[in-house]
Structures are given as structure tokens and as C-alpha cells.
């Protein structure tokens, strides 16, 4: 399939259409909502499911040296992308060092839902992918925060601003490392690994069969939330910052493509590697930023990550990353 066919197939898939429905409903001010606790449950389900399935795959193939390299490469990307993002933001926008660092943290970290949508796009093409990509998602979640805090500190000192935090960084890092999504992803991954295909067989009617449908419903909610965030938040974004929300994922994707080259991942795995790098966090990192950098404005970083980059990745990004992956993946 050509990249354009890929993009079309993706955009007309039920998952993207349900996202669009949510977006449209929110923008039209419909009172449609997915109840909060149910949305949390759907997210939990999706992570439990991809974690478990990833673990079962690893149980089949066993540990390889490549796995370690992939984790190292992903962790390095999560550390490095914020530096780049910060540099770009400071150059193109008038945002303070602290706002810029907070945004940078989001783009170095990852979005699990974007990753899950990526797995479905990959699966729709019949492509397999390495099971440990799920573990990579967990690995890439936190390093970006460390980078960003260092950047904020250096930048603020230069600006003469005060970021002396009441927070101990180590306490915060521990909290982030044990945040719900990391625990359920890694925990389910390990359980899948231990119980293997026989465990999967018993649990599959729950975590495999309805997976795609539940993702659709979850994306309906994501569309509603993103749409409501846009309605309130877009006015807070200047043009350069808005543009950043579209361009930064592409830059991350290109870098990730280069980094993925020597890793020898399958086509599906490479696409997911790129997708992770290009995705931006909107759950774990914002909460961490409220504690570590309370002066940074959530109306900016949340709107950018959730209202701009997430929809972009879901619709156009993922097929593009598939096309990029085709250039470098092992076959």
C-alpha cells in the first residue's frame, strides 16, 4: 500500500472514526460523555491486555540481546528528545524556560494510547511485531522527566526565575516509576511472560477478542476529552507553539527512524518504535509537572499534547510512521 492508501485506510477505520465522533460531539457542545471511572477502566483494560500479550510473545521467543539494545535506544531517545524540543521551543516561541521544559518532558515521554492505536494499525496490515515493544513503552515513560527537570533548572537560573522546588526529586521519580500505567503494563507483561500461551488461552476471550471494540469506545472518549480541551485551550497557544505540536512528532519520528535502523526490528516493531518516539504523554507527565514545575502552565502543555499532537498522530502520524519504518526495517 502507498502511504496515502495507508493514511486513508487508517482514517476510515472504526477507531479513528469513533475518535472523530467524540471530537465532533465535544466541539458541538453535546453532553455526551464516557463516565470518568469507566474511561479509567477502559485504559486499564487496554494496558493490561497489551502488556499481557507482549509478555506471552516474549515467553515464546525468549530473551535476546536485541531486546536490551532496543530498551537502551528507547531510553536514550526519551532522554534526548526533550533537549531538542526545549531548544526548538526556546528559539521559535516566547515561552519561559519552565514552560518550555514542561512541554519538552511531554514529547520525550510517550502516549500509551497512541502506541495501542499503532499496534492495531500494524495488525490491520497483518504485520507482526516484537512483544517487548510494550516494555519499551514503559521504559520510555520517565527518563524524559529527568531531562526536562535539569533543563528547567538550568534555564530558570539563567532567567533569574525561582524553581527551588519543595519536591525531593528522588521521591518524585519513585512516584513516577510506580505510576499506574507503568505498573499495569509491566506487571501484565511479566504475568503474560510467566503464564505464556496457556495462560493466554484462558484469558483471551476477555483480553484479546473484544480488544478492538473497547479501543474504539476508548477513543470516542479520547475524542470527547481532546475536543473539550481544544475548546478551552487552543486560545492559549501562539502560532509557533501550535506548529510545534505538529512538527515535533515528525522530527522525533525521523530521529527514531535513524536510531531504529541498526536495531534490526521487524517492520511492525520499527513502526511502533517510531510511533513511541513521536507520541507525547498527556497523563503521567502532566501530573508530574504539577508537582515538579508548578509554575509551568497546564493550559499550554496539556492542550498541545492532547489537543494537537494526539489527534495528529492518531490520524496522519501513524500511517506516516509505517511508511518511514518501511525504509529501514529488517525483512
Amino acid at each position: 500500500m502507498s502511504p496515502i492508501d495507508l493514511a486513508l485506510a487508517n482514517i476510515l477505520s472504526p477507531m479513528v472514526l469513533f475518535f472523530a465522533l467524540g471530537l465532533a460531539a465535544a466541539l458541538a457542545r453535546s453532553d455526551l460523555t464516557v463516565p470518568e471511572q469507566v474511561a479509567k477502566f477502559l485504559a486499564l483494560y487496554l494496558m493490561m491486555s497489551i502488556g499481557f500479550k507482549g509478555g506471552v510473545e516474549v515467553a515464546k521467543t525468549g530473551l535476546t540481546a536485541r531486546m536490551v539494545w532496543v530498551m537502551v535506544a528507547g531510553g536514550a531517545l526519551s532522554l534526548f528528545i526533550p533537549v531538542l524540543a526545549y531548544g526548538i521551543l526556546r528559539r521559535i516561541s516566547k515561552l519561559s524556560a519552565i514552560d518550555s521544559a514542561a512541554i519538552a518532558a511531554h514529547y520525550g515521554s510517550i502516549s500509551v494510547v497512541t502506541f495501542v492505536a499503532g499496534t492495531q494499525a500494524v495488525a490491520a496490515l497483518g504485520l507482526p511485531y516484537e512483544g517487548y515493544m510494550v516494555a519499551l513503552a514503559a521504559v520510555m515513560e520517565t527518563p524524559a522527566i529527568v531531562s526536562a527537570l535539569l533543563l528547567a533548572h538550568r534555564g530558570a537560573v539563567r532567567d533569574g526565575a525561582d524553581v527551588s522546588s519543595q519536591e525531593s526529586t528522588s521521591a518524585l521519580m519513585k512516584e513516577i516509576a510506580l505510576n499506574a500505567s507503568v505498573v499495569i503494563l509491566v506487571g501484565s507483561f511479566i504475568i503474560g511472560w510467566i503464564t505464556g500461551p496457556s495462560g493466554l488461552a484462558r484469558i483471551a476471550p476477555f483480553i484479546v477478542d473484544p480488544f478492538f471494540g473497547i479501543l474504539c469506545l476508548f477513543l470516542l472518549d479520547m475524542g470527547l476529552v481532546a475536543g473539550r480541551g481544544m475548546r478551552e485551550g487552543l486560545k492559549h497557544l501562539s502560532w509557533p507553539v501550535l506548529a510545534f505540536g505538529f512538527v515535533m512528532p515528525l522530527i522525533s519520528a525521523v530521529i527514531a527512524t535513524v536510531v531504529a535502523w541498526p536495531l534490526g526490528l521487524s517492520l511492525g516493531g520499527t513502526a511502533l518504535f517510531i510511533t513511541l518516539a513521536a507520541s507525547a504523554s498527556y497523563i503521567a507527565v502532566p501530573a508530574a509537572m504539577r508537582l515538579a514545575l508548578p509554575e509551568a502552565r497546564p493550559s499550554i502543555y496539556l492542550t498541545l499534547s492532547l489537543g494537537v499532537t494526539f489527534p495528529f498522530n492518531l490520524t496522519i502520524g501513524i500511517p506516516l510512521y509505517l511508511a518511514l519504518a518501511a525504509l529501514v526495517a529488517a525483512r
Partner: protein
């Protein structure tokens, strides 16, 4: 029936900062507090509602704390220093309770 004057603090605080706030209350040795859910609101940062949120950032919570008058100054000092950097408000009012030893 005999009642005793106390102060009631009502704090509205962003969810990610809740545990830090409770630690402050603990350190001030208040006898207790109660955390309540919040659905939506408006402040200087504009309207928000749970339906427009994913994750904790942006979500507010209410903390109610009934305590003795003599604790209030130190408590307010600590809380206001904390609120200088986090999103939130505090309102203090007079209440009467029946079991003074409880507070």
C-alpha cells in the same frame, strides 16, 4: 447541649498536589480531615470539568478540616505558602462541635 467553638478550613486543591497538602496537615497535627470529590469549576484559570480531563492534572478536590483555633495561624501559614505555588483556595469559617476532645 454544650458545644465548643472550632474553625473549619475548606481547601479546594488540584489533585496532583493532594498528598503534599495532607502531609502538611499531618505535620500540623490536626486531628483529622476529609477529602471530597469535585466535578467542575471555574477560577482565574477558566472553566474546567471532569469530562474534559484525562488524568489528574486539572482535577480539583475539596479538603475539609475542623480544628482548634490555636492551630489555625500556623496551619494557615503552612497552607498559604503551599498554595502560593499550587492551584487552590482556602476559606475559614466558625463552627461549633459537640465533642471538643475529638479535635
Amino acid at each position: 447541649m454544650q458545644t465548643h467553638p472550632k474553625k473549619r478550613l475548606e481547601l479546594i486543591i488540584e489533585a496532583p498536589a493532594l498528598n503534599r497538602l495532607l502531609d502538611i496537615l499531618d505535620k500540623q497535627e490536626v486531628s483529622g480531615y476529609t477529602v471530597m470529590p469535585v466535578l467542575a469549576g471555574r477560577g482565574r484559570q477558566g472553566r474546567w470539568s471532569r469530562d474534559g480531563l484525562v488524568g489528574m492534572a486539572g482535577q480539583m478536590l475539596m479538603v475539609v478540616c475542623v480544628t482548634s483555633d490555636h492551630r489555625v495561624p500556623a496551619l494557615l501559614e503552612a497552607v498559604s505558602k503551599f498554595l502560593a505555588r499550587q492551584i487552590g483556595i482556602v476559606a475559614i469559617s466558625d463552627v461549633e462541635v459537640i465533642r471538643t476532645e475529638h479535635f
